[in-house]
């Protein structure tokens, strides 16, 4: 569901919002800690949650009932700096003007997958569940000072909310090497934004503005899984969302806020094509290797017959799992994602995690780390929190996820 998040960001950016990394937080990627530790994408993950995103993976599931729950926390540290010059216009460094930390907990999802039970044809499998494709979490705080370094006020921005998706998936397996999958989901959720500027001097007017948006839509997915040879599986999918309906409501002082109206509108969503592979080398560490690539056509998106000014985006992720003899399962991976908004917002992540097994229960934990640095001037259409052209944002996003799963043989 990252495309929906991207689409929302696009609109907000063009209409004087903020870039995706600040405004919407991040798309979650995988909702399962297993695949989250392996590059962050769930496209080739054979967990119940992964099968909601790529239904053809039901072809790799075992007979029985598979149940999975997940959740996590997002920790964002943001530093804003301005470049300092001497009288010769020579830079001597960058001075920090704001430092923000934000921690948000989120549910990842819950899903069940069913295959090979009596009464069902052996070549059909199902999955159903709930997942959170994207979260909105950002907090900004800055002290306003005058030329004599005296505090004159404070500026705050707060964004919260999330998208929810309820999915049903079905897969058909005409042969041992081929599986077709179809899935559909209903998307709902909301986002709350509050911006406040308060001055120490009571005679100086401050600003308090808010905007609440409710969103709903439908997303469909079709995918296939093919096993060209032993230990190798490849998969392809197309994700096609319907238009997202957005109902906004502004409050406070709209004049200082933005030009978005209170009227409902529909936002066209981009189509996404994904390709992935799973390789099981068969070594002593019982390794698994996954990799996937996606391409999304944000470049063709329009709003009210005008281009949103975005670029097509793409991304890739890569992950490895090793089962240490006598120990836990160790996973790591990395991902790279090109932003549809500006090249400086491209993001690279390192992921890692461990898996523990007790009886039929599996507990998996994962973590990711993504650094980002960009200048305000590199993203067109952004409002500036401070005057000047050198505002630089340094952000690190550290995310922890866990998931619990169990397989029942019915």
């Amino acid at each position: 569901m990252s495309i929906i998040a991207a689409g929302m960001i696009s609109l907000m950016t063009v209409t004087a919002g903020l870039p995706e990394v600040m405004w919407l937080g991040e798309p979650l990627g995988s909702q399962s800690a297993v695949s989250y530790a392996m590059g962050g994408s769930g496209f080739m993950e054979t967990s119940a949650l992964g099968m909601l995103e790529n239904p053809s993976l039901l072809g790799l599931s075992e007979d029985g009932l598979l149940v999975e729950f997940s959740g996590g926390a997002d920790f964002i540290v943001e530093k804003r700096t301005r470049r300092v010059y001497d009288q010769f216009e020579s830079s001597i460094g960058e001075s920090e003007i704001a430092f923000n930390k934000e921690m948000a907990f989120f549910p990842g999802g819950a899903a069940v997958a069913l295959r090979g039970i009596s009464g069902l044809p052996g070549s059909v499998a199902f999955a159903a569940g709930y997942r959170v494709p994207a979260i909105f979490g950002y907090s900004y705080d800055r002290i306003i000072r005058d030329a004599a370094y005296v505090k004159t006020g404070e500026e705050m921005l707060d964004v919260s909310g999330q998208l929810n998706e309820f999915d049903l998936a079905v897969a058909f397996m005409p042969s041992e090497v081929l599986t077709f999958g179809l899935a559909g989901g209903y998307v709902t959720g909301g986002r709350d934004v509050t911006w406040e500027v308060a001055y120490v001097d009571p005679s100086q007017d401050g600003t308090l503005a808010g905007r609440t948006e409710s969103m709903s839509g439908i997303v469909t997915r079709g995918s296939l899984l093919f096993a060209p040879r032993d230990r190798v599986f490849v998969s392809a999918s197309v994700e096609y969302p319907m238009a997202l309906s957005v109902s906004p409501e502004n409050s406070g002082d709209p004049a200082d806020w933005n030009t978005l109206s209170n009227e409902d509108y529909d936002l066209d969503m981009p189509m996404t094509v994904k390709l992935g592979a799973l390789y099981v080398p068969g070594n002593n560490l019982r390794s698994r290797v996954t990799g996937d690539f996606f391409w999304s056509n944000e470049g063709s998106l329009q709003f009210e017959d005008a281009s949103l000014g975005l670029s097509n985006s793409w991304g890739m992720s890569f992950g490895v799992e090793n089962t240490l003899p006598g120990g836990p399962t160790a996973r790591f991976g990395f991902s790279y994602r090109r932003s549809p908004i500006a090249a400086s917002l491209d993001r690279m992540s390192f992921t890692t995690g461990l898996g523990f097994r007790t009886g039929d229960w599996n507990l998996d934990v994962a973590g990711s780390f993504s650094p980002d640095r960009w200048m305000q001037t590199e993203v067109a259409g952004l409002p500036s929190f401070v005057s000047g052209d050198s505002l630089t944002v340094e952000e690190t996003d550290t995310r922890i996820m866990f998931s619990i799963s169990r397989a029942f043989r019915l």
């Binding site: 470049r83 009288q87 960058e94 390794s287 490895v320 790279y336 390192f350 780390f369």
Partner: protein, 810 residues
Amino acid sequence: MISSLVLAACIGLAVPGGFDLNTATLEELQGLPGLTALQAEELYEYIYETGGLQSIYDVMRIPGFGPRELDYLRSRCVVVPPPEGMVSQQVMNVMERLATEDGPGDAAVDMWENYLIRPIPINSATSWQLRSLDRVSLVDAAAVETRLKTLGPVSSVTSLRNVDNLTYYGYRNMRDFISIRDLDLSSMEFFGSYRVVVDGGDGRFYDEEGLGTMLGELRSAEYDMMSGGRGYSESDSVAWMERISDERQELLQAVNTTAWEHRVRVGLGDRFRGGARLSRGRNSSSGFGLFDDLDLGDLNRRFDVAKGFASIENIGAVRQAVLGNYHLSLGQGLLIDNSDEMMYRSTYRTWGLYPDLTSTRQFAMVGGALEVQKGPFLGYGFYSSASRDAIRDIDGTPNILFMSATRTSPYADVVRETTYGGYGFYDFGGLLPFGTAIGLGGMNISYSDSLVPDAGTMDIPGDAQVWGCPEYDVLEAGESSSFVGLSAQTIIDNVSLEGEMVRQDNESMAALARGMWQNDYFYLLGIWRHYDLGFNNPYNRGFAEQLRYDDTIFEKPYYLNDPLSSQLAQWPAPKPEEGMYIESRFQVSRSITFTKVYLDLWRSIPYGFDNYRFQGEVEYRPDFTVRFRLKYKFQDKTKMHDVVPTTSRTTEYTFRTFFLPSGSDFFDVQLRVGMVELTPNPLYGDDRLMSGGYLAARWEHNFSEALSVLGGTTLWSTDGMSQWEFEDTGIDFLDGDGTKFYVTIKNNLSDNLQLRLRVLRKDTFYPRTGLYRPDPEDSFYYQGDPDSPVRDFIDHATEYGIRCQLDFRW
């Protein structure tokens, strides 16, 4: 196969000493009472070289093994045959090491990897071939050739072990790349590799001569011009402003760009090789033509280096013919070594002709090259036509060749260079000691447009700075240069003597003579070199203490019209100097070794300043698992400065320990402190003392042969004296105060899939104090907001790096 493994495991439990011979360690084999220590070693070596025994009866092929040893081993051990097509673990380890050594000067790495898959047939090898291998000296190569030519072919590589004058290190360094096989010219075995590297991350890092500094200097130059601080004519002023501004805009696009590398290599039997590379460096600007006059659209915006080659080998006298990109390094590197990199005091040089898929760009040869061997004659011929970067005057005239990581349009692809030449060697082996040869070579370089050095257009008009750069001033205008080289080498027992002299058509010359005496416990190396001031061969990579434009005005971007011209300081050719370098390694006893001791005495030719540098390092190893090293370095160097020369005296101490607490752990701690004393200068007033040091620790744990994790941290503090350290993947410079953490994961997922993943965080702190200025005209301020003065602050730069490298081989 599985049943064999189960059987092996069972026997391993039931029978003392019972294990799979193919996976046994040397210690396990030496623990077998039925084998002598030498036999255990021979068996280990045989398994190592052949990739594994197919059956227990293979041991009969090992010299010194007979029915008794066969019966003994058959009753005690098992053999689990390696799977078909498996690359041995030893070969994987070498590939892993080579994968970390890929750099602009390492075109040879690709060929070494090919040799791991299809080794050099040792019985028909010459010393020329062997010395092209990784760290194989001329004495080692000649020792093997002498053995083969005088006593005939060998039946196994192991039997070279005791060849006269072949050191243990020489044997160890060549054994992975040679075998007793014959060339199979009819083979159509298809092999190759694909590598993808993504190197990115984010943040800000201090790079004294890099992108961040250049952006700052460009902005400062813009301001200087806007405020009328330069004495240009009106038209020049407008032109310079436009150029500086455009350059800055181009470089801004390069900030924090991610590095990508795609590289594919293929081979067909012993005959054909091919490969291609498409890459972009980190923080590197692109947008220039990857191939001249060919519009590749988006590829040009995404990548900055494109390379490719096709080569054929072993056709009669033609040992190798390469079309496309190639790297050539011959003699002592005074005539030809087309690398973008020159390491200070590098005593090791790869030799020969190699297809080139490295990151080398400015000195990349594009065309064709040939290596021919007929009897005692070995010849190389080469031709290249490629565009070259150059500093351009404001009127567009090419000024001087140039190389820069911060590449922009005014400098890119300014002239086309056509280079051709050849080098022939006559081998006197047999008549004189093997390894004795003389060589004669020549090279002509011409440019599509004349290069016109003109200090007047580089230096800011009316600037008070004295230009003072003899290395630049001596250059003459012209569009071609030619060079003639003469080289000679010989061997006397375990002593090698080599030399090369090259003369340029402007009457200048360069010469280098080198002698090395070596055995298993000792070597003594001496190098004498002389480079005339006027000797300006861009392909000279001879041994030197300094780069040609070190300690010149090109280290000061603020003294130049275009600050980007200062990148000429990175020009990888030796400084005009004359000197004598002596280096030694000496193992006093089993536990004490002087690992590297050297003394370099050299004179700066333009100014006649005498300098010296000494380094001594001693290692104490009380036990196999512990090593202590103490290193001392002292340097006394004088350089021309404003008004009077300045002498710097550098002292540095390094203490390092290595621990191997278990077979799968490696621990390394290093402490370094140093100081630099500068003699009085009107710029400083009094003596000036700078200092710096760091503490670094590294730990590597091998979970299995296929998975290891390495973590490291460094804490440093400097007061004007920057530090540097070697990480696992390269050199890193440390400024200010700071901390650094990194983790590298290495995972051999299968015989043909390797992964390396690295994460780094580096924090650098620069306190900026004393910024308060009562006069607004003199104040420090935020960019774009001159009315907001800035007080003291700590400039905290955080750099994050994430690097992923995937190698797939087949």
